[in-house]
Each structure stands twice: as C-alpha cells, then as structure tokens.
C-alpha cells in the first residue's frame, strides 16, 4: 500500500485488516465514534457484529477466537464499556484466548481529570492482559496494532488491550504504512526445544511401566492433535484430559480415558495416583484438576510439557520440564520412544470405568422414570448431531454435564469458560463460535441462571440471523451452588431457587423459534425439530430440580476421594 495521509481511525482499520481481521465484535459509544465512522467505509470487507452489551461482545469474540484459532477483535468505547469487557479479558487471560480489545479513551488533554466516561483502562487491565497499551498519538497506531496482534497470538496466547485516545483517532497520520511485528527484544514467545530434556523425557517414558498422560488445551492451541495421537499410540500411553482439553482426542480414541478433576471420570483420577510417570501436556495443574497438591501424584515422576516457563513448577514440581510448543516438542520425544504396549496397565482402568457406568452414567443418561435428566438430554443431542457439533457451555452443572456426556469426533469442538468460570459466557460465546464456524452445528448448553445473565444477546442472534441451538437445562435453581449447599451446607438453599420467566415467550419476542419440553416422551422429537434446519432455536428442557453432578471430588481434597451419591467410592 502506498503511504498516504489518513485519520488515526482509518489507519487503525487498515492496520487491523493488515493483520487479517475480517470480523469484529463490539458496541459503539462516544469515545470511539471516529473508529466506527471509519468502519462505515469498510462494511463490505469486515463483518461487524453489534452486540447488546459489551460483555456479550467480548465473549462472542472469545467464542470466535476459540473456534477459528484467529485473534478475536472487540471494539468498545471508554468508561463503562471498558469496565464491561473486563470479565471477558480476565476470562481470555486464564484460558489463553488470543484477543485484541480496543477501548475508546478520552482525549489526552482530558486524561487524569475524571472526564466524562474516563477510566484508567491500562491500570485496570494490566494484571489481566498479556499487554495493555494506550495509543496517544496517531503515529503510534501502525506500531501498536502490529505489536498487539503479535503478542496476542504468539507464545502462550492471550488478551491484549489497546486504549485508543480520541485525539489519536481523529488526528492525521502523514505517512501511514501498516507494520508487521515479528520480534520484540524483551519477549520470548516460544523457546527452542532443549534436546537434553527431550532425551530425558523419552528415557523416563521408555522405562515407565505405568505411564499416564494429562492432556490440556495447549495441544489444541498448538494444533498438535495428530502429534499427540502419534505420541500416545507409539508408547501405548493412556490419557485423561482437562476441561479445556476436551475434544483434543476423539471420544472413541482407545487411549482416551476420560475427564480429569472434580467432576471427571473415576478411572483417570484414581490412576493419577497410581501411575509411575505422569506426563502433563499443555495443561497447568489447575486446582480443579489436582485437588490437594500435597497428596497429588506423589509416587510419580513428572514430565511437564508447556509453552509458558512460569507454569513449570507453579503447582507441581516437574522432574523433566519441556518448554516449547507441543507441536514441535512432542514429535521430538515420539521419535525417541520405543514402541511399547501397556496392556495390563490399561486394562486396570476398566474396573473403575465399569463402576462409574453402573453407579453414575447409566442412571444419568438412561433413566427409567422421573423428571428428564441433564445428562440424558446432552447425550441425546450429542447422538443426534452424530458427535460432530461444536458444543458450547455456560458455567455450572450444565457445563460439567456437557463435558461428561458430549462425545466428539473432531478437535476444537468444545468451548467453555474454564479458568474464570464465567456464568453468562455461554450465549455470546455460542454466537461467536457459530460466526467462526458457520458450516458446523453449534449447540449451547446453558442453565436457567447463566442464560439470564446474557440473554440480551438474543437480539444479536435475531439481527445477525445466527443459527445457534440454545438448550436451557432448566431446573429452576442455581444448580451447582445448590449442589454444594445440599452436600456441604446442610441443605440450606440460600439464594439458589429461581423464579424464571417464560423463556419461550422471550424467544418469541426476538423472533426465535422455541419449544419447552417437560416429558421424556417428547424429548427426542423436540431435539429433532431443533436440529432440522440451520435457524436459531431455543429449546427449554425442564430437568430434575435436585439433579447432582457425580462423581465429585470435594474441593481441596485428594483426587482419590471420589464421592458418588453422597458416599466415597471404594475399589
């Protein structure tokens, strides 16, 4: 592009298009009007999605980034708009989602004066971003945008905030030219692999009798799903996955042993404390996975693959740390592995699997009578979509049930708020996911509580005609909190029963087709109707009010302290 004189706002749009942006989520306002004015000239090249609340816009950008692997872009104004996106920024930081968030800001002459809609965005967002920067002059735009995108999508991905002062938007850049950033001297996104550590890891795995792998989102972020399967297959290593590691391995992959953690499967949790070599791959030993650190996998040697040096030894000491992108490091280790089989060790998972099937799974997905169950609904929908849908969840019981009872055939098919656990994430994230993967079926599982936190985004669905399938698992309770109250707080249901509106009528007001089912006999037909075409749809399923997610490892206890139906299981 030839150098020309442009307004800062136009230069900004050029710069983000130069980074490959073709979709923007956001909400306009006073301090960002010049950018929206410039955007008006590019509506043929950029799909702009108007949300109904800035929190909705940023969660949509997250859903879009998670499904597409691209940087999610969200543009909002200053002050309250900036504070409304804080939840999404924090969520993206904890879940390593690449975002560039642009907030408007008052002119530099007003900074620090408590001007109308002025808030210290950089100060507020520094602790929860990879980088947060205030653009004060139009000449900085090309540099700042290039750097922002580079930081967001390199290394351990994450959110970046650009706080864009109004005078930088309106001022003219004399010789604008977009820039490209590929190196920052103070920043090492990914280290080159340390061959000695690679050899040590391979040696440990080759000697292992009972190796066990823990799969996290790092594998998906590194696009290393195939490399992972080759690694596991060659040495015959069973593997469990974290919440964000769901769908990295197909559900029917023989070495896939299920979900780890608080509501994970029994076998992988028990086996964590029996294995001799624990291989963590792109996961960060979250407390919801480990429970009590002092009793966690003490018997095992630990190999930790991660892209982020600060994760090594943060919660669990690593005997062999392997820094780098697993896309590179896994094949290097695989090459040094002996072909191996661990038939007996793998067979030892079966007892716990069988026990869980009898005690929990059959009861949850094939109930004979009583109210519809959450797990049953999810399993039926998974079946009806041939396990090919993108599953988005909100937070709480709906999330744990969706994680437990959805099956997957394709990677990058499960989108949920893991680290921050943001209720209200579901509806907007599903919107973003459908925009990022328009050819796939996107199903959202959301509770009646979380739905009402961001249900204003039905307006976005209506205006953009976004064909998401929303399934409200309605139990008229804040179910996960209710579960803790039932189990740990003497059934004192403080502030958890909910009087709900007529969800079908709300959908109707937005022109979205909807049905409510309360009887098991009508569930299959309702699901078929929902999935019959690509239009948006809201299915309200009245589920058992007192449903509990089992198994459960109470917070902060040992991973073998697994409770089912109120009792610790024994094997």
């Amino acid at each position: 592009m030839k150098t020309t004189q442009l307004s800062g706002a136009h230069a900004f749009i050029h710069s983000i298009m130069h980074e490959g942006t073709d979709t923007i989520f956001g909400y306009p306002g006073g301090a960002i009007i010049p950018v929206f004015d410039a955007l008006y000239d590019y509506f043929d090249k950029i799909h702009y999605v108007l949300g109904r609340h800035e929190q909705g816009s940023i969660h949509a950008a997250q859903g879009y980034a998670r499904i597409s692997g691209k940087v999610g872009v969200c543009i909002v104004t200053s002050g309250p708009a900036a504070t409304n996106v804080i939840t999404g920024i924090g969520d993206a930081m904890l879940d390593s989602t690449p975002l560039v968030v642009i907030t408007g800001q008052v002119g530099t002459n007003l900074l620090g004066t408590d001007a109308f809609q002025e808030i210290d965005v950089v100060g507020i967002t520094q602790p929860i971003t990879k980088w947060s920067y205030q653009i004060r002059r139009p000449e900085e735009i090309a540099w700042a945008v290039a750097r922002a995108f580079y930081i967001a999508r390199s290394g351990r991905k994450g959110p970046v905030v650009l706080d864009f002062t109004k005078n930088a938007q309106t001022g003219l850049v004399k010789h604008y030219q977009p820039e490209k950033c590929t190196f920052i001297r103070s920043y090492v996104p990914v280290l080159k692999p340390n061959i000695q550590k690679i050899e040590e890891a391979a040696q440990l795995i080759n000697q292992a009798k009972k190796p066990f792998a823990l799969i996290g989102q790092g594998v998906a972020l590194g696009n290393a799903e195939e490399e992972l399967q080759e690694f596991l297959t060659k040495a015959d290593i069973p593997a469990g996955w974290t919440l964000l590691g769901e769908s990295v391995m197909p559900s029917d992959f023989p070495l896939n042993k299920g979900m780890l953690g608080m509501h994970g499967n029994i076998a992988p949790n028990l086996k964590t404390n029996e294995c001799d070599v624990l291989i963590a791959i792109g996961m960060r030993f979250d407390d919801r996975v480990t429970g009590d650190l002092s009793t966690y996998a003490k018997q095992a040697k630990v190999i930790h693959f991660d892209i982020d040096a600060a994760e090594i030894g943060k919660n669990i000491p690593a005997d062999v740390p392997i820094l780098g992108n697993v896309k590179t490091t896994l094949p290097l280790v695989t090459k040094l592995l002996n072909k191996n089989t661990h038939t007996e060790w793998i067979a030892s998972f079966e007892e716990a699997e069988q026990k869980e099937k009898e005690l929990v799974i059959d009861y949850e997905i094939h109930p004979k009578n009583g109210a519809i169950k959450m797990g049953e609904t999810i399993a039926k929908i998974s079946e009806a979509t041939r396990h090919e849908a993108v599953v988005v969840t909100d937070v709480g019981q709906n999330q744990m049930m969706a994680a437990r009872y959805s099956k997957f055939t394709q990677p990058k098919s499960f989108i949920t708020s893991g680290g921050l656990g943001t209720m209200g994430f579901g509806v907007p994230a599903a919107i973003g996911a459908k925009i990022g993967a328009p050819d796939r079926t996107v199903v959202l599982f959301v509770g009646d509580g979380g739905f009402q936190m961001t249900m204003q985004e039905l307006g976005t669905i209506m205006q953009e005609k976004i064909g998401v399938k929303i399934v409200i698992l309605n139990n008229n309770y804040l179910g996960m909190v209710r579960q803790w109250q039932e189990l740990f707080h003497a059934k004192r249901y403080s502030s958890t029963p909910m009087q709900n509106p007529d969800f079908v009528a709300i959908a109707k007001a937005y022109g979205i087709k909807s049905e409510r089912v309360s009887e098991r006999s009508k569930l299959d037909t309702a699901i078929d109707t929902m999935l019959a075409n690509d239009e948006p749809y809201l299915l309200v399923v009245d589920v058992e009010e007192s449903g509990l997610v089992y198994p459960m490892i109470p917070a902060g206890t040992c991973v073998t302290n697994i409770i089912v139906n109120g009792e610790k299981i024994k094997l």
């Binding site: 490959g20 597409s68 692997g69 691209k70 940087v71 950089v122 100060g123 520094q126 602790p127 990879k130 980088w131 947060s132 205030q134 580079y150 930081i151 999508r153 390199s154 290394g155 190196f183 920052i184 001297r185 103070s186 920043y187 090492v188 996104p189 990914v190 280290l191 080159k192 692999p193 982020d308 040096a309 600060a310 090594i312 030894g313 943060k314 780098g324 992108n325 590179t328």
Partner: protein, 190 residues
C-alpha cells in the same frame, strides 16, 4: 529434613525492563497477588540506553521467589528478571540524617562525628547539619539508633538498596544480542 525452599529470608530481585509507562505497576502487582511486602525498591536507568533496572528486596521463601520472578520475567516489556541472596551480592544503601547544629556542637567537635561514624557532611547552617552515610542496612540503622539515643535526629531518609552481583554474569547486552537465536519460529499467520 527441613525443606530449605520453605525458609524465609531476604531476596534481592533484579529486573531489567523497557522504559515503558506503567511498568512499575506491572511488577509490583505481582508481589501484591502473592501477599508479599516489598522492603525496598529502587529504579534507575541502566547502563544500556532505554533500559531501566529495578532492584527490589523482599522477605520470602525460595519456593515463592522463584515463582514470582518467573511471573515478572513473563511480562512482555521485561527483558530479564532474576533473584539473588545477600552472599551473592555487593549492595549499598544511602542514608541522610538531619541533626541539630546546637546538639552536634554539644558533642564536642564536628571532627569527632565524622571520624567516629565515617559520615560525610552535605550541609551546615546555623540550625542544622545534614550528614550522609552509605553502607548496609545495618550500618545506617545502627547510626540512626545511636544518634537518636544521644543527640536526636531531626529527619532521616534512606534509599532502597542498589546491588550488583559478585560473580561473572552474562551481560545484558550479550543476552539481547543472542535472544533472536533462542526463539522458535512460530507459524502465526492467521
């Protein structure tokens, strides 16, 4: 056996960073999150143009300081962060003491003050004398305690620690020059 990583002691954290606005905040919030009190903090331009050096002292365990330093090192604008214990460092602090001229004269002579405490005089006027002492924390503290108990100290101020490692260390300029070679190429076109 007692785990030495869980014993508290004084650590000196050194941070080299780009001179970008808000960096001090980025660093201090990492200590705040871990409930650590910063004992001393000094920030100044380093020998390399555009690069600032932070020297921070904090009392904590090795287990925690390792994690904190990794978190600091992770910040985009931080070039390098590391920590040392006192044995690995040469460090100094500077302290200024404002004393009453009348009280100093009562001691006998100004000469005795200078000789006994090895201080420098920066200012003398009819009402007060300002003296300077450099040394370790204990040195400046001992003088403060002694003067407080004898002639009294009108005002007292102490800098944070500045420190330099004793061993031969990699120079920052060399490290920066070799940095590009440490980095794995990423395919990040989208």
């Amino acid at each position: 056996m007692k785990d030495s990583t869980l014993e508290k002691r004084l650590y000196t954290v050194t941070v080299f960073s780009e001179n970008t606005p808000g960096l001090l905040n980025q660093i201090t919030i990492i200590f705040t999150r871990r409930q650590l009190n910063i004992e001393t903090l000094s920030v100044s331009p380093s020998a390399l143009k555009g690069i600032h050096k932070f020297t921070i002292t904090v009392e904590t365990t090795r287990d925690i300081i390792e994690k904190v330093v990794k978190q600091i090192d992770k910040r985009i604008d931080v070039l390098k962060a590391y920590y040392n214990v006192d044995e690995e460092l040469v460090s100094q602090e500077i302290a200024l003491y404002k004393l009453s001229t009348e009280k100093v004269m009562e001691m006998g002579s100004v000469e005795s003050l200078i000789r006994r405490y090895n201080v420098r005089i920066l200012e003398i006027n009819s009402s007060c004398i300002v003296v300077e002492k450099t040394g370790l924390y204990e040195d400046t503290q001992n003088l403060f305690d002694e003067l407080s108990q004898t002639i009294g100290v009108l005002q007292f101020i102490r800098s944070g620690r500045v420190a330099i490692t004793k061993g031969k260390v990699e120079r920052l300029s060399d490290m920066l020059a070799s940095r590009a070679a440490m980095i794995e190429d990423e395919d990040i076109e989208n």
